[in-house]
Symmetry: C2
């Protein structure tokens, strides 16, 4: 049909200059006389010319695109991080390619590979776990990578996190005031470093308060509302009277599940959740929560990545952001 693809050549011809000059005005190169610059811009406008980013990417080896690997974009925790990432990215003129990993190690490897094949300038990786396969994948690419909300126990990769061990410790301590049997609800992969940190903080707090650790009080679940609901029975029959939960949606499910079973919150059961995402305010009672700087977790990671991509010197590859605690109705 119509082959109306208009290129830099068309602009050059129409403006009576060489394509090199057109390229210069597009790239804001100073070495262009103001007069010719104006003319070129006029032609660009008139022809509705739009530079082909793919061709630029091939020639310059830069795509101004960063990949973001996310377990589940519809989870409020990750959505908040994504927002922080996106804002900073667009501030620095980067476009974002988002890829869902579904918390699946194989899919993580796969999406990372397609992202790399698309020549992204950098990568932000969000996940719970950092599997060996993905680590090896990361190790053999020169593309800068930053972890956000994902701990790397080998401490090889740049990362932005909070101190999960400490935060979980504090939450457990808070519950230990009124409870003897405190449950810990973790994500799908307890072995995940993130989970290990939380478990460690939990256990420390228990022993400091003379409480014994029992595996029957540690629960593993997928990160979703439904799974939280389902968990209510099991948690209840474990004899626990309080719980520290690693994910807000799970916590909401647990809360509503317990209430459905006639459990009074916080009188009969106390809950502290982990992310302080907006949904902690939706419930009745509201959910007391560790307060993570979600947006910042993403934003700082992205900022760090821009420095890496720009080969700037960076003081610390491992950023720990401060956390806080917000008391709501789910604790006494």
């Amino acid at each position: 049909m119509d082959n109306e693809t208009i290129t830099i050549y068309d602009v050059a011809r129409e403006a009576g200059v060489s394509m090199a000059t057109v390229s210069r005005v597009i790239n804001r190169n100073q070495n262009v006389k103001e007069a010719t610059r104006r003319k070129v811009l006029e032609v660009i406008e008139r022809l509705d010319y739009r530079p082909n980013a793919v061709a630029r990417g091939l020639a310059s080896k830069k795509t101004t695109t960063v990949g973001v690997v996310i377990p589940d974009i519809s989870n409020s925790y990750f959505a908040s991080l994504a927002r922080g990432i996106d804002d900073i990215a667009s501030m620095y003129k980067y476009t974002i390619v988002i890829a869902n990993s579904d918390d699946d190690a194989d899919k993580e490897v796969q999406v990372v590979n397609t992202l790399l094949s698309k020549q992204v300038d950098g990568l932000v990786f969000l996940g719970h776990d950092l599997s060996d396969e993905i680590r090896s994948e990361f190790s053999r690419t020169r593309t800068p990578i930053v972890l956000s909300g994902t701990v790397d126990h080998e401490n090889q990769l740049p990362s932005v996190n909070i101190d999960y061990r400490l935060a979980t410790h504090e939450a457990t301590v808070a519950l230990a005031k009124n409870n003897q049997r405190i449950a810990l609800v973790l994500g799908p992969m307890i072995d995940a470093i993130n989970g290990k940190d939380r478990l460690a903080g939990y256990q420390e707090a228990l022993s400091e308060h003379g409480l014994s650790f029992s595996e029957g009080l540690v629960f593993e679940t997928k990160y979703s509302y439904k799974d939280g609901l389902k968990l209510a029975d099991r948690v209840k029959s474990s004899g626990a009277t309080a719980a520290v939960v690693a994910d807000d949606e799970v916590a909401v499910g647990l809360l509503n599940g317990l209430i459905n079973n006639g459990v009074a919150i916080p009188e009969d059961f106390e809950i502290i959740t982990a992310n302080n995402s907006e949904i902690t305010e939706f419930t009745r009672p509201g959910l007391s929560s560790i307060k993570q700087p979600l947006y910042d977790l993403g934003a700082v990671a992205m900022r760090l990545l821009t420095k890496l991509m720009n080969k700037e010197a960076i003081d610390d590859q491992h950023v720990i952001l401060p956390h806080d605690f917000v008391k709501r109705g789910s604790t006494k």
Copy 2:
């Protein structure tokens, strides 16, 4: 440093064939002898060769990438749509580039332009409004575009929606049984077609039930929990005893705001919200809701887009998905 970029030439040399042959095995072209195919694959594996998608994109004029324009990825409604889009996209081997538009017409135009410059093969557009600027932008590109959850009153662009007019009509009728003064809470741009449809359905229902329309009962707000909270006072003092709300997060805010003011739900005030996203179950009482097939709205749009990109014949450019109603505690 190390210029270890390995290309199709390296593979060709190492395998003792021409680059064309390598290209063929990469692209699963049948015209390759099984033996040479194996050898090439072996070399690809050994060299850890990864095709450069940017170069492929330039040469083939296809990027296997689709752009998705979203007002706010952290809003649960859009997050659900995004999930549907992403699933179908990856099923068809497309990668997704997400761009936040913040519900801002200028930014919409801007992100659409950068998406087009990146040579996406197609575009899924989510928004409330379809501004004239964006429409003109769309009209002068040959890149296929599908609207999802976004009505185009000119009916030019392919789209996937529910019947907002009818759904709002039904919701209003349901409330008219017990209420004389029913509020309607719409998004940031009432003029948005989407909003117009809802308004029409609302007004029809009112008149059918002999209720008079009052502008004082129509509220305009941004789509967020906080704005819903803020709205509670105004809605209360308008004398309304029920409300149809166009966004779940706003509805949750309104609900909690009213409860905070001592209003009993549903005894003193009934609420019906619009999206039936997961958060409608988080609240106490739960929110009765129009039930939109959120995931499908995205999934079907993406599927439609694949057909368009593939130049397949399509029966109907304007898909209307069925909706439903879910009764929860916020209505009598």
